[in-house]
Symmetry: C2
Amino acid sequence: VSATRLEVRAGALRSEPALPEAPGGLVLLADENTQALVPGGWSDVPRHVVPAGEASKSWQVLGGLLGALDAAGLDRDGHLLALGGGVVTDLGGLAASLHRRGIPWTAVPTSLIGQVDAAVGGKTAVNLGGGKNSVGSFHPPDHALVDPEALATLPAAHLRSGMAELLKTALIAGPEQTEAVRGLTPETLASAGERAEAVVESCLATKLALVSDDLHDQGVRRKLNLGHTFGHAFESLRLGELLHGEAVGLGLLCATRLAAGLPHTPLEQELRQLLGSWGLPVRAELEPEAVLTAMLRDKKRRDGGHTAVMLHAPGRVVVREGVPEAALAAALGAVLRPA
Amino acid sequence: VSATRLEVRAGALRSEPALPEAPGGLVLLADENTQALVPGGWSDVPRHVVPAGEASKSWQVLGGLLGALDAAGLDRDGHLLALGGGVVTDLGGLAASLHRRGIPWTAVPTSLIGQVDAAVGGKTAVNLGGGKNSVGSFHPPDHALVDPEALATLPAAHLRSGMAELLKTALIAGPEQTEAVRGLTPETLASAGERAEAVVESCLATKLALVSDDLHDQGVRRKLNLGHTFGHAFESLRLGELLHGEAVGLGLLCATRLAAGLPHTPLEQELRQLLGSWGLPVRAELEPEAVLTAMLRDKKRRDGGHTAVMLHAPGRVVVREGVPEAALAAALGAVLRPA
């Protein structure tokens, strides 16, 4: 596991960050929106720009990017810079893992989900056929350069969505990080300076610690799926309506009820209030049967009950095997209106 | 590094080899020629067939294969079988490394180069843009099932070409393996039974030992490039005329002269006689200048002389940095006619 060097600094992109040493050349990947954030001192780096949005996480766009790296003569000791949201870092990381069988890369995440989650940890992917992230690799960036000020231009809904991921990681980390995240709001994060730096950095450090013990996602890393077993099902059933983080926020409430085994515990109520205060949904209009079907489709061929991540308290997150379907159904009551 | 389990057995494919345990499903990759070699007991495995030949090592064919793995519902604990020559195992290994971020696979190499070299070691690739093997990964097969009888249907030129790779690995391994290889001929290998098994197995074990110490090709693995620094240049200048192994055979003569620093040593003469007896070329009609240019293009940005692999004696192969261009030019005299 190659370690990722983290650099979290508000204003980093305006302050002409250093370019990596790369005897084999440099290429910069951005999308149509994020190319506006390229530091002036990086303007001489050959640039490959892809359309903004999930459609760029495709086999065709990946092939075009790899062709551009080849045409640029990027060597095995070259380096790729990926500046953008989760789409750009997922795509760039995968291209870096494949070009000349793997070159180093730098993630410069510009979305909140990217900054606190997607850009580090090494999971790269594009979509192919019917499957989301069906093709990918594990290839952590050598360097993650994170500038919370870059969040200033994000749509409000994306900031809210990212707050749910930030909260998820804080809940895994412990009570102290959870308190720090409670003190932030989506509206003020980009201008929160050192406070934003501290929260984002601690969140990334938590994630990297879990990942470095388990790059290939067999053990402790699965804690990072907190809220996601439920969340992926909500997201797939409300595709285009529910952002990833919104779905994860709902999933956190279910994971809390699943751990408690009973409704309306103080922790569940606190989290509901916090998510609501950030403008995130705390209820979904969905049929429990449909959600369960979507959840179990994700888990096919894992016999003898299901694997679920449970939230007992901040810092007490447990991956449990053999969870019965009835327990998952009951936990859905945290966000679904009774039928 | 995941270890590859080696199974070398003459007649293995006729004797209904066991299928791997794969709760997440199986898919078999073959090409139009090699599907004739699929064991009867494997006929129920969903099959993806690609056209025979180097053109199948493409981004488009790789995308089609990955789409087929997705459509077949192959899970993270699924398994890919790749039955064919170097094209099929390079392509299949790369697909296995990318599908669901990596699934296990079995290499069933059916060409001699595949059996003694390409199918194990973990280098996977396709061609993209102008670059041969420009896109790829390191993803060793979990299992390599090698049946020397499968060689019976190979064209004679491909068998001869593979003998040069076999000889190369034997020269790295030592005098004993070199003697064993000298006792074989391209014509009799497929029917040599236990003798073929022993030579192929020892050759693969040598390669795996070097690879397991150095998956990412930074150190001792470079010994495996013996004959290849020269060979790649010959191959690129005589594209379509000179098979890979034929070029490597010429490269072995140059690597011997490079180590000795003088022409016509007993080892060089012995190797020349052996290659000739197998029907391999021992001379090439090329301009030394053109060969040097092609060699140095391969090595761009490695300043301060060149890296070369030298053959002092069977078992005495040395990777040397800082080799001057004049020494490379002199070594070319082993195979180029004087200008």
